[in-house]
Amino acid sequence: MPIELILVEVFALFLFLAGNYFLKKVYGRGVSKFFQGVLLLIAAYIIFKYIIFPPIPAALLYTYMGLITLVVFLLLSTTDQSWNEFKDPIVKTLEGGSPRFKTIRMVTFVLVPVLAGYGSYNYMYPKYQEPIELRTVHPAPPASIQVHGSELILQKARSPFRVNEKGDYDEKVEDRYLKANPFDDKGVAYLKYVREGGEIFFQNCHFCHGDNLNGAGMFAFAFNPIPANFTDPGTLAQLQQTFVFWRVAKGGIGLPREGFPWASAMPPWEKHLTTDEIWKVIEFEYWHTGYYPRTWD
């Protein structure tokens, strides 16, 4: 949970403060600024590398650690006293003013090139992973599309099945029936469409998008990119229903010029489903996840 992560960070901060306070109480001095910096970096690395689960990608880890390094530097240099205290062991090591610092300097001057060399070796060592690709996740849709011989203007079209008890289009109908049972025979028309959409979904879509709609279906990991996770707040919740219709109808092969690398394995469902069936599937997806489509007013 994202909130848990923020709480872990807050806990780490107070652990630091309490530790420093305790050391001051017992030994009369806290952790020196230099080691405060080092410890902060280590703590941040442990949180980002091991506490967040599943592990975050290396690119993001480096970004986070780069930021934390910068912040630690800024924090320790806000006052002259703090900055001098931080610099002191570094300067003394470089000067090698005492036998102890001479030893530290020797170890440092051996260790740093070795670590740099090891890092370079690791970086250059051939890897057999496929290269990283930056994808355009939500390419801009066309103004209109042709599906089954009729034109759909994306900025104006509406789902014919998002209707209230009177049969009129109602954006908020989903809100009223989120907890309702779609299998109830006495249910409203909207719920009937949701149920029919669900049937279509489980006949066609769940193999890739998963029976929890989380993009982890049984075939999901045979593809790169893997199928969309509808439970994520950044997919369905960010899109208009007409955008989703366009993606479902035209599939990966119908991605526009800016949708590179055009690697989506999604079939063009207009070849297999009717227009109404596509709309019903979309209604089911929104109802099941509890998200609302993006609207313009």
Binding site: L67, T79, A140, N224, E258, P293, R294
Partner: protein, 643 residues
Amino acid sequence: MKALKKSKNFLSLALLGILFLSLFSFAIPLFFQSKAYADEAAAPAAPVMGKDVYYKNEGPVSGPPAPKLKVGDYPMPNLPGVAKESRLIVWVIGQQHLYFGSFVLAVPIFCMVIELIGLLTKDPVASKRYDQLAYDFIKISLTAYSVTAILGGLLIFTFITMYPGFFAYLASLFRPFMHIYALLFLAESGTLYLYYYGWHRMEEGFLKWVHATLGILLNVFGTILMMLANSWLSYMMSPAGVDEKGQFLGNYAHLLHSALWNPINVHRIIGNMVFGGGIVAAYSAYKFLSSKTKEEKAYYDWMGYISMFFAVGSLIPLPFAGYWLMREVYAYRQQMGITLMGGLLAWLFILQAVLIGSLFFSVIYYLFNGMQRMKGAERYEKITKYIFFGVTAAFLVWLTPHTLVMTGSELKAIGGQQHPVVGNFGVMSAKNGAVNTMLILTVLTFVIYQRANKEITVKWKNFGNAMLFTMFGVALANNWWLAIYGYYIPANVRVGLSVPQVAGTLTCLFVGTAINVAMMKGAKSTGPVLWGTISNRSQFAIFALAVSFTWLMALMGYVRSSVRLFWHVMEIMRDNSPWAFTHPIGFASNMMSVNVIIFWIFTLFVFSLAELSSGHREVPSMEDSPVAKTAGRHGHAIAGASE
């Protein structure tokens, strides 16, 4: 003598009158309908009518259609490597012209404000200080003005030689405005020279007010100039006043007033002020680091503080103007909006987030360093780590992308395209919470800075502190609560949540600062501000701020321009050049960096020219006048000065 003075005043007023009347010159073409294009060719009985692509009204076809260019219509320079791509040459020259244009529009705004503050300041020493500050900067802008003109000429030649077909079409539409543009440029030059060279001749009494009015006039000319130039690029993004073939329909007001013209105008005026403040702050830092005496250090330290304040003050409304612009882009064409924020250019907004975060860090770091100038500020040192922690946590959320860059094995380990924990930080709800947290904590840092060398003595001290504490606490709690709540509501409602979030932030900014200022009334000083004692490190924060602004301008300018994709003029005139493609992000970012480096080399050259012209001179005193000191008003001093 009296007669001479009177005639001087009369001449000044007459000159001002003429300049004021020339303000309306830009409106002249609006009173004339263009001759129908058809009239030029054997005048048919009834003009052919066309329908405006934006305003949807009918009008007589009064211009040629947009040409359908072929690959051969784009001259290719005989240069090695990527330099063959003439677009890159236009990119560099255009960006440099824009930087300097922005600089020479912003610095007069800064000077106008500073001069007026000086005029209204009662303490003669402080008044002189402000006046000198404004003068120092207008001197720099004079050199930058020449550079801007040279780059502008170079840009026109580049367009004519490298994009002849496109430029001829644009010029056929905007010809009258281009003439006015040139005339306004002359008027602005004249006003600038009067403003600069007349500075010391118009130093006293009524003439000083005339001079200040010249400053206002200079800015009016500059703003209209910029708005005219903006109309060309806003036409390219959201054409109006033409039919679907790109034929002009005779209404210049429609041509000028396209859908994105005003949002771009507002965003750019504010952006220029931020940029100008950043550049003059960088100049101050440069002078501070190269100062030889205590007096110089003190003056340039103060100069840096004022410039930084101006830049950050202008920065606060900038996101709102940006938000409005983006909203108008969406309203004009949904595809453009999605390409920007969710599609092809979305990754560039992550870079923008990083740069904006670095601005906040620079400001906070500078303010905490600035407290070192004041005795008594030690009380607040322990707060530093909490503020840094809060801003860092918010920044981590702010820069987390929604779609992560990862290898196949990382993707499998995560179990999907979106991370179940940090993936939640990638959506707007989280971003709004994060950026408002950063803003609130920056405002809190400023409030602390204001109190650094003060002992509050008002009777309602505890009540005031409780009010401030509650205000900031409620603003933060409201901000976080709404950020979480945003995940559970429809997108159109969620977008509306940014209003109460920002309202909390702005309340802290305006009301919080006002309460804090009121509490300072009659406060006991724990010591003066020892100008010149700030650390050298803080000056690098100023450089970071200025460079971040420069990079941001390059980045967002590229985003705005490349959102047209393969159109010269959106949906009217296609770009059929061999390079009608969008560059990879890495290449584009390198181009931006090259532009930033070129600009800063140029800027350092401008700074050093200003040095050459003035040589070594006395800086204004940073010591308050005896009158002000006894009144206990300012509490300025320089390090080592007698107390």
